[in-house]
Point group: C2
Chain length 344, copies 2
Amino acid sequence: MGHQIQIEKSITTSLTSFLEVNKYSQLIVLVDENTKRYCYPLVKATLPKHTLIQIKSGEEQKHLETCMMIWQKMTDVQLDRKALLINLGGGVIGDMGGFCAATYKRGIDFIQMPTTLLSQVDASVGGKLGIDFQGLKNHIGVFQNPKAVLIATDFLQTLLYAEVRSGFAEVIKHCLIADSQMWDEIRRKDLEEQSWNELVRHSVKVKETIVEQDPTEKGLRKILNFGHTIGHAVESYFLEKPKRKLLHGEAIAIGMIAEAYLSYKRKLLSEESLMQIEEFIFSIYGKVDIQETDMETIAPLALQDKKNAGGKIQCVLLKAIGEPIIDQAISLKDIKDGLKYYQK
Amino acid sequence: MGHQIQIEKSITTSLTSFLEVNKYSQLIVLVDENTKRYCYPLVKATLPKHTLIQIKSGEEQKHLETCMMIWQKMTDVQLDRKALLINLGGGVIGDMGGFCAATYKRGIDFIQMPTTLLSQVDASVGGKLGIDFQGLKNHIGVFQNPKAVLIATDFLQTLLYAEVRSGFAEVIKHCLIADSQMWDEIRRKDLEEQSWNELVRHSVKVKETIVEQDPTEKGLRKILNFGHTIGHAVESYFLEKPKRKLLHGEAIAIGMIAEAYLSYKRKLLSEESLMQIEEFIFSIYGKVDIQETDMETIAPLALQDKKNAGGKIQCVLLKAIGEPIIDQAISLKDIKDGLKYYQK
């Protein structure tokens, strides 16, 4: 299924021409309270008649009950199969809105208009849709490409520092798994000095190239999970602890240090590269306090990772910066060792 | 996505060779209390180690809550992406189990082992998966082909008369939309005299040929909805009336007479053909009592049909037996007229 990714300062022109070429019976725009306030005003005038569906922001809303509310609203306005859903928001809106579109009447068209750095460089590319289930991230979902991804870098100016920092973790990951040269560029700069337009383009390109070769994650695409085996377990753990909130990228930053350490421990990655990675990540993200008792609970959460097979936890490790290797079985003890190293 | 349909008296050989060729990490078999009792014993010995998930039988179970129970059991046994789900049952098991498989961890393999005539000739072919939502049939779902469809005509002997009769409506439909010669064969015989092995093969072939040309129902595939625009509305209506239960095929039989009448009224279908159709269908199904007050509620239910576009109810009509035409807009009054004619 062909689709297009447009990256521009403002996407109103792309949006207008997309809607001219593709005729839809109805338009629905999915927003949360933040994107309604900060992003919707930037596109409202460009949109023909449409219905707004608003959900509450936050990963903790990304579950079946919210989907049921969205499906109900779609049903209430008698949305037919020729309608279009526009997901205006971050990863939660894109993943969950996409899932609702892909399953409503067995699938209507949708486009992603990612508004956070994280969703611009990661979630909006690759067709992974889904929701959390019983505390497990993206446990229920499908692979389905949007009709288009329209990325407006203008939206980045609406973000809080913590959100930019969270999205930056995926930018770091894309460099670590695919581009040692770009890694050398970003690691010499502070977060405020990064060239976002260039980095968004770079990250989208890296991810797109990988996903095109392996859309349903049989092999190569797994490299995108670097930092995520341990990172997701950490994220799931903190999701249940409302007082110790951790953004996705903050958890992945932890996962990348832990998994870089495991790569080093297995004599794959040089000590010098490990030092480079941890130094830069700590300089941006600081250190999150994870006790050994936390680790006991975190490690088994990785057993539910979708990339596992045959009861083994499968992880992506690094042979060198820019050279990942997939399907590396790790144990619960490895995960705890990685986290202990992070905490050292 | 390639898949295979095998039709045999017993499918144990096909099942064994399928499981030898395709290696799975775990097997799950989905059953209801009926298929567990009557069908599972026929395949149990053929299956390697597996987990059984049992749900309650009936269309009224085909909703999200049952899916949540299925997903939960899959999660409890730590099912990974290399696992296989075997749907052993009728349309509800196939549609809902398929949907659960297609969405668990963004999709695991599944095979259909349809046990009712209806699911053998209809539901198991074509990759339509889904569940009911707020009383609307198959409102939430996806298109996804199973890895294989294994049809054992042996299972038909476990069915009640009413179930065979219900499935026969789809056999009739396949003749009416695609094969006037076969229509002439079946209409000369009583239900008990039909050659089921031959008819299952014929129906699967008809449906497969249509679906291959138009997997996601952009055009041609819509002809399979003959009888279903009005039939589904009738079925939805009776779904809410537990005291007046109507099986799927019984509702479709009503829909086929009503829609044949509309075809005649629009001077598409000859009076002779209309008479042939209603005579045969009434002889098999008798007449269900539908009051004019019922019709007032039934007609608007067709507004939610997935085949509609731009607020118009789209229907399949017949130019002749074996010659359907799609995208025929009909009004609420047409639906009531069709039902009045049926009731006359």
